[in-house]
């Protein structure tokens, strides 16, 4: 229990702390690849600090949904963050880590964010909610199938146990993980509202999904929403990283091991952020109704994995 508490506090704290850095890193890589200087690497932290000092403005049409949604969002996402070990692997006893529960915590956060988008009665918010829930509906089978493929290959439905399984083995032992990695990468792109699905940079009504839902959020509430978004991205990146490149993740809770864990995760996450930045720069946004075929690609990789494993 004490060990779990230590783990939860460290893990949640570390993920919260590193999230704005990763957001900044992706922005920086994108700017550099487009020949711009871009914002400073730490811009994410400056933004949060600035928003925390601003006043909160609510539309007079809104209800308690608008007021509660940011708290619920950060609550659900950090509870999900507690299930994805990055500081050290907690002992299996009592640590909740079921992959389905994890995915549904993300859905819960999305549910309340979409409701908040509708609350003010703005067309933009409604549009964002509608698109978000539609895309979320068609990506869900892909996400779950990837989770099923992971559970199939690693013979467990528990995220920390999955990490433990790959940590003790080489990639050659689980060749199909590369296929799952591709699915997970697509899921990461979709869930974090990046190009080619959504464009996090613009507030142009034709392209925006995620941003549209947040238009009515202000001040510290907006800071919470931005932070939730960052946490979600870090957590999804952490799953991809710890499945494909698990090196450095501490198996026990000693101080040096935890430090190595944090440092190595930070470096790997920055590298992945660079990959995402380059990927975003190379891609063009896909038309909304063409997206299902992009998702099908991810579904295909997961299904191929399952079929491979069945035949093996």
């Amino acid at each position: 229990m004490a060990e779990y508490l230590l783990y939860a506090v460290l893990n949640i704290g570390f993920i919260t702390a590193i999230s704005p850095l990763l957001l900044g890193a992706i922005k920086k890589v994108k700017a550099l690849s487009q020949g711009r200087v871009g914002p400073p690497l730490l811009q994410g932290y400056y933004n949060l600090a600035k928003l925390l000092k601003k006043e909160i403005i609510y539309s007079q049409n809104t209800s308690f949904i608008m007021r509660l949604a940011p708290y619920l969002n950060i609550g659900f996402l950090l509870a999900a963050a507690a299930m994805v070990p990055v500081v050290f692997l907690p002992s299996a006893e009592g640590a909740p880590g079921n992959v389905i529960l994890f995915l549904y915590l993300l859905v819960s956060a999305k549910f309340f964010m979409a409701l908040a988008g509708l609350d003010a009665g703005s067309t933009f918010g409604g549009m964002g909610s509608s698109r978000e829930m539609s895309l979320s509906a068609i990506i869900e089978p892909v996400t779950i199938t990837s989770a099923a493929a992971l559970a199939f290959v690693l013979k467990t439905t528990d995220i920390p146990e999955m990490f433990a399984a790959v940590l003790g083995a080489s990639l050659a032992q689980y060749p199909t993980l590369i296929l799952i990695g591709m699915s997970l990468f697509i899921v990461l792109i979709v869930e974090t509202a990046r190009i080619p699905v959504d464009n996090p940079e613009t507030h142009l009504e034709l392209t925006m999904i995620h941003e549209a839902m947040l238009l009515e959020q202000t001040g510290p509430k907006l800071a919470l929403m931005e932070l939730s978004y960052g946490v979600k991205q870090t957590v999804l990146m952490a799953i991809l990283i710890n499945i494909i490149f698990p090196w450095g993740l501490a198996a026990e809770a000693t101080l040096p091991a935890i430090a190595v864990s944090m440092l190595s995760f930070g470096l790997k996450a920055l590298a992945l952020a660079a990959v995402i930045g380059v990927f975003e720069s190379l891609m063009a946004k896909i038309r909304l109704f063409r997206l299902p075929s992009f998702f099908m690609l991810a579904l295909f990789f997961s299904f191929v994995t399952i079929v491979f494993e069945l035949l093996a």
């Binding site: 006043e55 049409n61 609550g75 909740p96 529960l101 509708l118 067309t123 829930m133 779950i144």
Partner: protein, 645 residues
């Protein structure tokens, strides 16, 4: 003791039914309240009886009346029956509390008496079905249940829509009884008894009997393609009755199916596949049709089809895993299905009751004419939101607690030795995930359109909060949604079932702690709070016409799934010039094909009509022809008898 409690409860409900119909004229609100109080007392007695059986585990048998050696009104209360009796009684209790006020909304005095009485009979008959010890009693009470609910559906009989619902319901409910009768008679032919108990049959006979019972119970449960009556009947019935029908009546059909699979027949692999496929089709199509629906009660009804699909999927998984002797996974699926039955009863009756309050307040079932009700009916909104979150399977509520059991069972599919079955299971898993996410989208739409933003009609603007009784009834169920979810693992452990469940308590604690911390930090930051207008891109005054509508909300999904909706968009343009560059006018329309209605139900109805037309033409002849018929029949009989001898 348990017998006395059960019969006492039944007696109280009979008394309630009698109180409603005896005596002429309007019996007054006071007597209706007394009748409902009797129903409440009866349900409490039933809950006590069921709790007794569930705690004790020993079955209670008793016979009320024996017509013939083989035909008796005999009852058998074991844990399965008691579990369903408990669901029926608990939901009926909350519905009766809700009805105390709701009934006074409906048409005229005498009709309200009748509604109370028929409701009591309806609840009584459902409980008796679940407790029946033989098929004779079961089908008898089943018919009682069907007919009392038919009368309730026809409550507002002056409306054309109600008449259509009544016809669909009557036909389909008799169709269901017919197949149950067929199943029971076939079983009697092979085993020589109507008693519900293990039957030793050849695979072919067992398959036949399973088919009959599956169609019979499946029709009542609303499994596709036998579902068409469900949205009509649920929408036409008064909301307290919709809550009972959707919350409990379709669960009685689930009870029948579970009983057949567990105690009567020994299932084979292909039954599991049949259950799984029908379940998946019901679940996915149910939610897809719900997304397109803007009649609040029909929307909820389609979600009932979806959830029945989930339950049937659970039963299918149980059969498949049992076949491969994977006992742990089979148990998980079966308990998942049963737990979801309870959970759906809880949140769906809650949703129908709050929907009833909303409809009573706005005088419309069309969600496009609502909006902004969260300000006018805050308590109703919160209760509905809990139900919506539960049905969308959001952790830590009860809908998630049962769906995740099925997910876990699915993820165990890699232990199945047959690759073909495993692929089927993984495909079904993808469809299951799709269904679950679409349900969340649909309830964002429903809650958003009904409760959020600005009111889109005069009625919605003038709506007022429902009276207290109409909040207490669903309010109890909302509390149950929370408790059954957060403490699901603890409840199963206390009941003595050792299943590999996910404990939702720690996650709830972490979420709650972070929530509290975030509230504290934001409060501490000392930000000023100001009210202002919604940002509208420079628009001066925002109005409800600028909001996203429910149709707008579901449009992307409708477009993505257009092959399933079979929508036909047709555009006609008139041009002023030959080069077709100047448009002078035109029209466009979107038409949804009612696949099941237009391709299955109506052709079947036309076939039956043609056959009955043929028969009636045979009747409509003069004496000579009748003599000819008699002659032909006698010749056939003689030939048949001669051959037999």
């Amino acid at each position: 003791m348990i017998q006395a409690l059960f019969l006492g409860g039944a007696g109280l409900m009979l008394l309630a039914a009698a109180a409603g119909v005896i005596g002429g004229g309007d019996s007054g609100a006071g007597r209706r309240k007394a009748a409902l109080a009797l129903v409440i007392a009866g349900t409490v007695a039933w809950m006590a009886a069921s709790a007794g059986v569930l705690a004790d585990g020993a079955a209670v048998d008793f016979t009320l009346y024996r017509l013939a050696p083989d035909l008796a009104f005999a009852f058998h209360l074991d844990r399965l029956s008691a579990f369903f009796c408990l669901i029926i009684a608990a939901v009926a209790l909350c519905t009766a509390v809700y009805s105390l006020k709701y009934i006074e909304h409906g048409a005229g005095g005498r009709q309200r008496d009748f509604l109370t009485a028929a409701m009591a009979v309806f609840i009584l008959s459902m409980g008796l079905v679940a407790a029946s010890a033989n098929f004779f009693a079961l089908i008898f009470f089943w018919e009682m249940m069907s007919l009392s609910s038919l009368l309730l559906v026809l409550y507002e009989r002056d409306r054309a829509e109600t008449a259509k619902a009544g016809v669909y319901y009557l036909v389909m409910t008799q169709f269901s009884t017919l197949f149950l009768l067929l199943g029971a008679l076939l079983l009697h032919r092979y085993t020589g008894t109507f008693n519900i108990g293990a039957a030793d049959l050849s695979p072919a006979a067992a398959g036949l009997i399973f088919g009959a019972f599956f169609i019979g119970f499946g029709t009542k449960a609303g499994v596709m393609p036998f579902h068409k009556w469900l949205p009509f009947a649920h929408a036409a019935a008064p909301s307290n009755i919709s809550a009972l029908m959707s919350g409990v009546m379709i669960k009685v059909a689930v009870y029948g199916l579970v009983r057949i699979l567990l105690d009567v027949l020994s299932p084979e692999l292909w039954w599991g596949t049949v259950l799984l496929v029908f379940g998946i089709v019901s679940a996915v199509l149910g939610v897809i049709y719900a997304l397109k629906e803007h009649d609040l009660k029909k929307l909820l009804a389609y979600h009932s089809i979806e959830n029945i699909g989930i339950i049937v999927i659970g039963l299918g998984l149980y059969v498949i895993f049992s076949h491969y002797s994977l006992a742990a996974l089979a148990d998980l699926s079966l308990f998942g299905a049963l737990f979801h039955t309870l959970n759906h009863a809880v949140f769906k009756s809650l949703l129908f009751m709050t929907a009833g309050s909303v409809v009573a307040a706005t005088h419309s079932r069309n969600i496009e004419e609502m909006g902004g009700l969260v300000k006018r009916m805050p308590a109703t909104a919160v209760i509905f939101l809990i139900g919506a979150a539960a049905i969308s399977a959001l952790p830590p509520l009860n809908g998630f607690a049962s769906e995740v059991m099925l997910f876990q069972a699915y993820l165990g599919a890699f232990q199945v030795p047959s690759p073909l079955t495993a692929v089927l299971l993984f495909t079904a898993l993808a469809a299951f995930a799709l269904m679950s996410a679409l349900a969340a989208a649909c309830f964002v739409k429903a809650f958003g359109a009904v409760f959020l933003a600005l009111p889109r009609s005069k009625e919605a603007e003038q709506a007022v909060e429902a009276p207290r009784a109409m909040l207490i009834g669903p309010g109890i169920l909302a509390a149950a949604c929370v408790v059954l979810g957060i403490f699901s693992a603890q409840i199963f452990r206390a009941a003595g079932f050792d299943l590999p469940l996910i404990d939702l308590l720690p996650v709830t604690a972490v979420t709650g702690a972070i929530f509290g911390l975030a509230v504290f930090l934001v409060r501490r930051s000392g930000s000023r709070v100001r009210l202002s207008e919604t940002w509208g891109c420079g628009i001066h005054r925002q109005n409800s016409k600028m909001e996203y509508t429910a149709s707008g909300f579901s449009e992307p999904i409708v477009t993505i799934f257009s092959p399933i909706f079979r929508t036909r968009k047709s555009l006609r343009r008139e041009y002023a010039d030959r080069d077709k560059s100047i448009v002078t006018g035109g029209s466009g329309e979107i038409h949804t094909l009612q696949f099941f209605e237009e391709r299955i139900y109506l052709p079947a109805a036309r076939l039956v009509q043609r056959l009955s037309g043929f028969v009636s033409r045979l009747h409509n002849v003069d004496l000579d022809a009748f003599v000819l018929y008699a002659f032909v029949v006698i010749v056939i009989l003689l030939l048949a008898v001669g051959r037999w001898l």
